[in-house]
């Protein structure tokens, strides 16, 4: 079995920055990433876009272009970069199993840095499983990695910075949305107001937001604010979005509907490793408990980037460097005084990045009917389990997500609970009248993604001669 000082999972900003830091410190680094190109979802396709697609580069903006520096650093660093690698198991003694080009192999690492980022929060509203309904992130991925924009009417619905950013990018690409249907309630602006003074320290983000709003308003994109009761219309594909607005029900015809309610940490790996997790009430998600150096409660395992809590791409990069410094120190490649000296300005930068979060988290808190949808709404897309069936199981004595999974098969489909994990926990907590910390989360088991039996069997055959 191969071995390395450090294995990094995820080649987004956190993973790339950590790889660069650790390679510079002389550590042997293996960087495993599921995608074929570096950048993660935030800088997805950056190398190809920069080389071949100038118009896309300009409309995606300078924040996106910044990813090119990180990608270039990777290409110049002595890092064993293995794109197209799907990690499907990590044991607590840090043996990592991953699938690449149809074959699985093992890797032993002394340290593991999880940089697998965020997932989009699921938006379970009536009709959200219909073809034509996508996440806003998915629409942006089509733009970044394939240069595609909708050529049919599109509605963007929900809330959050990414929704506005994509609207601006599509506008610049000549494919503006037919409407923006925003779910931010009026009272959220009042609650968020008290976070503005602190957020002003991160004034660049605020200015950016103001610019987007002005651009969209100026272009005359119809913008419905304070909407509730969103429902996708259509029988076998999406044909429109209905919603309540200003006391009336509106319907806008659209073939593509982009939904967004922010992003949440991808906790599959930290859950698999049984790292301790805490419920983050302000971000409305679970995240692994991390110390000052981003180490989890499992020895040798750290998390950098949005996988440890949502702070964005720039913070992720600083976190990657910070975690990298500490791992280098633990590998005896960096004295503690030097680690601390280098870390100080990074911590300051990280603190600046965080100042805007309380404002964003308060303003863009997902609405209750998205967190805990009505009975008829499908929550587990794979197994088609509705919110009502989960509530019924709780009334029969089911106390948590794992029993719900046993009884209803929610979370037993190919996505393995990535989509339904949070809504199922929220619904159980609400029905039982207890806190999310008491309800807990799905127990995550290998393989992290579905794995052909022949690959698992092939691995056993590969290992045999060595035994």
């Amino acid at each position: 079995m191969d071995s390395a000082d450090v294995a990094i999972i995820g080649a987004g900003p956190a993973g790339l920055a950590a790889a660069e830091t650790l390679a510079a410190a002389g550590a042997s680094v293996v960087l495993l990433d599921e995608q074929q190109m570096p950048g993660g979802q935030i800088y997805r396709g950056i190398e190809a876009v920069q080389a071949l697609r100038r118009q896309t580069l300009s409309l995606l903006g300078s924040d996106y272009a910044a990813g090119a520096t990180l990608a270039k650093a990777l290409r110049n660093a002595p890092v064993d970069y293995q794109p197209g690698s799907m990690v499907w198991d990590v044991s607590r003694d840090l043996v990592i199993h991953y699938s690449r080009e149809g074959r699985s192999q093992g890797l032993h690492a002394r340290h593991l840095l999880i940089a697998s980022g965020a997932l989009e929060r699921p938006v379970p509203i009536p009709g959200w499983t219909l073809p034509g309904v996508m996440t806003v992130g998915a629409l942006q991925i089509l733009l970044k990695s394939d240069g595609l924009v909708p050529r049919v009417p599109l509605v963007l619905a929900g809330s959050g910075p990414l929704l506005l950013l994509l609207a601006v990018q599509l506008l610049k690409a000549g494919a503006p949305p037919a409407a923006i249907v925003e779910t931010v309630p009026r009272r959220a602006y009042r609650s968020a107001a008290r976070h503005v003074p602190r957020a002003l320290q991160g004034w660049r983000s605020l200015m950016k937001g103001r610019r987007w709003i002005r651009t969209l308003t100026h272009a005359g994109v119809p913008w419905y604010r304070g909407c509730t009761n969103l429902r996708v219309e259509g029988a076998d594909r999406a044909t429109g979005l209905a919603f309540h607005h200003a006391g009336r029900t509106e319907t806008i015809a659209a073939d593509v509907i982009g939904l967004h309610q922010g992003v949440v940490p991808n906790v599959q790996l930290t859950r698999l490793l049984d790292c301790e997790h805490v419920w983050d009430a302000s971000q409305r998600c679970f995240r692994p408990r991390l110390d000052d150096w981003l180490a989890t409660t499992v020895d040798g395992v750290s998390v950098a980037g949005d996988g440890g809590g949502i702070f964005g791409a720039v913070a992720a990069e600083w976190q990657g460097r910070l975690a990298g410094l500490n791992i280098a120190h633990r590998l005896d490649r960096l004295p503690s005084a030097e680690r601390d000296r280098q870390a100080a300005p990074m911590r300051a930068a990280l603190a600046r990045e965080r100042t805007v979060r309380p404002l964003l988290d308060t303003l863009y808190q997902p609405p209750p009917d998205v967190l805990r949808p009505a009975d008829e709404v499908v929550v587990c897309r794979c197994e088609e389990v509705s919110a009502g069936r989960i509530r019924e199981a709780v009334r029969l004595g089911c106390s948590g997500p794992n029993q719900a999974k046993s009884f209803l098969r929610c979370g037993m489909g190919p996505c393995q609970g990535r989509i339904c994990g949070l809504p199922v926990a929220e619904i159980i907590a609400e029905t039982r009248g207890v806190d999310l910390d008491d309800v807990g989360y799905y127990r995550i088991r290998p393989p992290l993604k579905p794995l052909p039996l022949m690959e698992l069997a092939g691995l056993a055959a590969d290992n045999d001669p060595a035994q």
Binding site: T56, L119, A138, P450
Partner: protein, 101 residues
Amino acid sequence: MFRRIDDAVRPAGITIWFEGQSLHAQAGDSLAAALLIHDAGAFRTTPVSGAPRAPYCLMGVCFDCLVEVDGVPNRQACMIEVRDGMQVRRQHGPAGVADDG
């Protein structure tokens, strides 16, 4: 449902087959993107109720873009790059188990 922004230095055009029909694609496209350009409609029907599905997340999370590729069922179209001559079919319900292996 989607169109390309016309800014690229065009990579080589290739042909893939979807339900027996030839489709034009570009090297480097994800299979999901190539199908979305051509209005493929539902990529799969669910094994539970037979409901139609198409890509939702496009980042390998949701498994709603499952298709059959070169005879292998339940492949994630968003995680696969197109290849010239690729044979793609909709995934109808659960995977088949072929007794001929």
